[in-house]
Amino acid sequence: MEDTDTSGDGAARQCAELADRLSAARITATSPRNVARAVYDGHGRAVSLELRHGAKDQHGPETMGEMITSALQAADRAVDALRQHAYDDVRVAGDTIGNWRRHPDDPGSAVAAAFGAPGPRS
C-alpha cells in the first residue's frame, strides 16, 4: 500500500478501493446448532438472515430469538474484525488508520511524550 505521509489523496483512493472491497465482502455467522445464519457485507450492512428449515417447529419463540441474536452478534464481531484489519492497510501520515483508531493519541500523553519526564531528582 502506498504511504500518504504528505497528501490525503493516496488515502482517499485507498479508502475508495477499500470501500468497494468491503461492499463486495460477505461475512457469514451462525448461531449454535446452525439454527440461524446471518450474512453481512464488509460495511456491516445485513444482506440476509436465514433460519434452518424446520427450526421454528423444534424451538420455541424465546429460543429462536436467542439464536437469531447470537448469529447477529457473531456477525457484528466478525465485521468489526474485518474492518479493523482492512484499515490496517490504509496509511496516513506514517501510520495506519487502524492503528490510530486502536491507539488514539490523547493530549496529555502527547505533551508528556514530547516534553519528556524529568530525570531523578538530586
Binding site: T4, D5, T6, S7, G8, A11, A12, C15, A16, L18, A19, L22, S23, H43, Y87, V90, V92, A93, G94, D95, I97, W100, R101, P104, D105, D106, P107, G108, A110, V111, A112, A113, A114, F115, G116, A117, P118, G119
Partner: protein, 341 residues
C-alpha cells in the same frame, strides 16, 4: 472554502496548513456545520506552535555571545592573575590570591547559567517541535478518518454526517487538550524546566566576599573585620614586595573587564527582548516566565559583577600606588600601618 477560513489557513505554518486544508475540504463537503469548530481548533494551534526560529536565535545568543563574553572576562582576569601570582608579597596578598580562584569559579558558574538557560530553551524548542509534528500527523490522520467515514457511508452520504461531526469533535477536543496541557506545564516537571531549575543553584560573583585588601591609612577599614580577620589576612609578614608591572596588568584586567560584562548584559537583553518573547514560546507561558526570571537575575548579576570589578580595580590601584612609593622606610611604616589596623 469561505473567505474567513482561507484567511485563517493562510496564517498557519506551512506544514499544518496543508493538513488543515485537506481536513477542512473533506469535512465541509459532508458536514458544513463543523466549519466553526475546525476554525477554532486551527486558531488555537496557530498560537500553540510558538516561534521555534526565535527560540533558536535566542538560545544561540545566550550560548555563543553571552557565555563567550563571560569566558573572555574570566580569561582576561585569569591570564593577568597567572602573571601576578607570587609577584606580590605583603598585606592583602594572601587574601587576594585566595580570592582570584573563587572569582574564576564564580564567573564560570555564571557562564554555566547562561549555557544551561540556552540548553533549557533548546530542550523546550525541541519538545515543542516534536509535539507539533504529532499535531500535524494527527491532522492528516483526522482527514484520513473523514475519508474512511465517507467511504464507509457509500452512496448514502447522510450516514457520514454524524460520523464526520464526531471526528471533528474529537479533533477539537484533542487540540484544546493539547493547549490546556501546554498551559499547565509547570515548574521543573519536564526536561526543559528541570534544566532551567539547575541555574538556580549556581553561585555568582555576588555570592563572593570581596577580597580583603589593605586600605590606605586615610580610608576607614571595614568595621566588620575582627582581630582574627586582620591576623589572618592583613599581617604582611616580614617581607614586602611587588612586581608593579604585573600589578598594573592585574589592575588593567579588572578595569577593562567591565566591557565584557556590558557586552554580556547587552546580548542577554537582546535575547530577552527580541527573541525569547512570549510569542516565541507559544502556549508555554509558564516556561517563558521562568526563563525571563532567570535572565533578569543573571542580568542583575552581570551589572553587579561589573561594579565589583571596578571596585577591585580601584582598591588594587590604591595599593599599587602605595607600593610604587615604597622604599625601606616606607616599607617599615606600611607594615606597621597594617599591623596597627
Amino acid at each position: 472554502m469561505t473567505g474567513d477560513m482561507s484567511e485563517l489557513l493562510a496564517t498557519l505554518p506551512a506544514d499544518l496548513r496543508a493538513a488543515a486544508a485537506d481536513l477542512y475540504v473533506k469535512v465541509v463537503a459532508i458536514a458544513w456545520e463543523a466549519e466553526e469548530t475546525l476554525g477554532i481548533a486551527f486558531q488555537v494551534l496557530r498560537e500553540a506552535r510558538g516561534e521555534p526560529e526565535l527560540l533558536d536565535t535566542g538560545s544561540e545568543l545566550l550560548e555563543r555571545a553571552v557565555a563567550a563574553e563571560l569566558t573572555a572576562a574570566r580569561d582576561e582576569i585569569g591570564s593577568a592573575g597567572n602573571r601576578f601570582s607570587g609577584s606580590w608579597v605583603g598585606g592583602g596578598a594572601e587574601s587576594f590570591d585566595s580570592y582570584l580562584p573563587k572569582l574564576m569559579a564564580a564567573i564560570e558558574s555564571m557562564e554555566e547559567s547562561a549555557g544551561k538557560t540556552a540548553e533549557a530553551v533548546r530542550l523546550f524548542r525541541q519538545a515543542l517541535t516534536d509535539l507539533w509534528q504529532r499535531i500535524v500527523e494527527r491532522t492528516w490522520h483526522t482527514g484520513g478518518e473523514v475519508t474512511a467515514a465517507v467511504a464507509q457511508a457509500g452512496r448514502n452520504l447522510a450516514v457520514a454526517v454524524p460520523l464526520v461531526l464526531g471526528i471533528v469533535d474529537r479533533y477539537a477536543a484533542y487540540v484544546s487538550g493539547i493547549a490546556a496541557a501546554l498551559l499547565e506545564l509547570a515548574g521543573n516537571e519536564y526536561k526543559a524546566g528541570e534544566k532551567l531549575a539547575e541555574t538556580g543553584a549556581l553561585p555568582g560573583v555576588a555570592d563572593l566576599h570581596d577580597p580583603r585588601l589593605p586600605v590606605p591609612a586615610d580610608q576607614a577599614a571595614d568595621p566588620s573585620w575582627s582581630d582574627a580577620d586582620r591576623e589572618d589576612n592583613w599581617r604582611p609578614g616580614g617581607e614586602l614586595r611587588m612586581d608593579t608591572a604585573a600589578m598594573a596588568t592585574m589592575i588593567a584586567a579588572f578595569q577593562e573587564n567591565g566591557t565584557y560584562w556590558d557586552n554580556a548584559d547587552r546580548h542577554q537583553t537582546e535575547a530577552a527582548e527580541a527573541h525569547l518573547t512570549p510569542r516565541a514560546f507559544g502556549l508555554g507561558l509558564d516556561f517563558y516566565t521562568d526563563v525571563q526570571r532567570v535572565m533578569t537575575r543573571d542580568r542583575s548579576l552581570y551589572r553587579d559583577a561589573d561594579a565589583r570589578m571596578d571596585s577591585v580595580a580601584g582598591a588594587l590601584s590604591e595599593i599599587g600606588g602605595l607600593y610604587g612609593m615604597i622604599d625601606e622606610d616606607t616599607t617599615h611604616s606600611f607594615n606597621k600601618q597594617m599591623d596597627d589596623q
